[in-house]
């Protein structure tokens, strides 16, 4: 792919500025997720709280106290009315944040392992990843051998991809629960996974310090993103709206920016004092948010 992209214009050095630092959490931030309105964002910290932020003003809108502080994942429902979180309690809890004070709506507790990731299909359906992936109604996706660490929904919501500690990425059909494709190549846990915006490729980030792009239709890896100077595992990743830029958070406290077509590092977001644990780009692509174990969230564009 990098050979094929030889003729594509370079993006040059990508230099984004830190626009806001969101302070409020008292402990490591483990997860964040943008709302579909590209303005609100929810973050989860092991201080035992979910915070919903207005990223235009930097204000905290809602604070949701968690029963269990060991949270690993958080998700915003497309409607903006609900958020969900889960972690070492093995439970996915759904909260109504539009109520006068945040109300626990449902507790989905049929997981046998910790909840590493969750994503809403709608206000009434959520996909959760634990040692097994499941959709609470009927379908259990039991194909990963190792713990599933991350999942991402396709743009058309018909499929989703999962990355696991068995170093494999798998593509699943949302409706019939079948595993359609499996992608190998990483040599360690896949911690982060995202769809290329066209829906035809997926990007993975792993503890083996590399990211990879797999093309779905040709069923293979088309490019790897690694650098000998980068010896830290990838914890999270997000793509810019055109898919050209990959923002990958690493254990080295930075978020490195990759040119997805040419496979080159084109920038870095530095400023966190600890591991970058989560990264997200809102639907309108206006910026990128990084969350860290240093308890801060930073907005860049």
């Amino acid at each position: 792919m990098s050979g094929a992209a030889g003729g594509v214009a370079s993006v040059g050095r990508v230099q984004l500025k830190l626009r806001k630092t969101l302070k409020g959490h008292l402990a490591k931030i483990y997860a964040m997720h943008w709302s579909a309105d590209s303005r609100q964002m929810v973050s989860a910290s092991q201080d035992g709280k979910l915070l919903v932020w207005d990223c235009f003003t930097g204000n905290k809108l809602v604070a949701v106290p968690l029963k269990s502080a060991w949270v690993m994942s958080v998700a915003f429902a497309p409607s903006g009315n609900l958020v969900a979180s889960g972690g070492l309690d093995n439970i996915c809890t759904v909260y109504n944040i539009k109520a006068a004070s945040p109300k626990t709506l449902r507790e989905l507790d049929a997981h046998t392992g910790y909840l590493s990731c969750c994503r809403f299909l709608s206000d009434s359906e959520i996909i959760t990843a634990s040692d097994k992936l499941k959709r609470p109604q009927t379908i259990m996706f039991t194909n990963h051998i190792g713990d599933c660490m991350s999942l991402a929904l396709s743009p058309d919501m018909n499929t989703f991809i999962s990355g696991a500690c068995d170093s494999l990425a798998k593509l699943w059909d949302v409706r019939d629960g079948a595993c359609k494709q499996t992608f190998s190549g990483h040599t360690s846990d896949i911690n982060a996974i995202a769809f290329f915006p066209s829906g035809n490729a997926v990007i993975t980030g792993s503890d083996d310090c590399s990211c990879k792009m797999y093309d779905l239709r040709s069923d293979q890896e088309v490019i790897g993103y690694q650098d000998t100077s980068l010896n830290a595992g990838v914890t999270s990743l997000a793509l810019s709206s055109s898919g050209r830029l990959i923002f990958a958070g690493y254990d080295d406290f930075n978020c490195h920016i990759w040119d997805s077509l040419k496979g080159e590092k084109v920038g870095v977001l530095s400023g966190h004092d600890n591991r970058v644990s989560c990264t997200g780009v809102p639907d309108d692509g206006m910026g990128v948010c990084t969350g860290s174990w240093d308890s801060f969230l930073k907005l860049w564009n």
Binding site: R39, A178, A201, D215, L261, G285, M286
Partner: protein
């Protein structure tokens, strides 16, 4: 007892591999030196990026006046 489990697991694995083998693949031909011989897959990804590049705020930059995340400084009356 464990042999039965192994057989059941192996059966499941074979079934899964059968499903995956049945998927139609488009061929990827990537050559390092020949810019003319691009695979359809790589070409599609490149064309998507190109089409959407102009509307990607993180690529083209966000004008200060329209930047929703930028802190707005209050006006000071001297």
């Amino acid at each position: 007892m464990s042999t039965t489990n192994n057989i059941a697991q192996a059966r499941k694995l074979v079934e899964q591999l059968r499903i995956e083998a049945g998927i139609e693949r488009i061929k990827v031909k990537t050559t390092v030196f020949c810019h003319v011989c691009v695979s359809k897959a790589a070409a599609d990804l490149m064309s998507y990026c190109e089409q959407h590049a102009r509307s990607d705020p993180l690529l083209v930059g966000v004008p200060t006046s329209e930047n929703p995340f930028k802190d707005k400084k209050p006006c000071i009356i001297l």
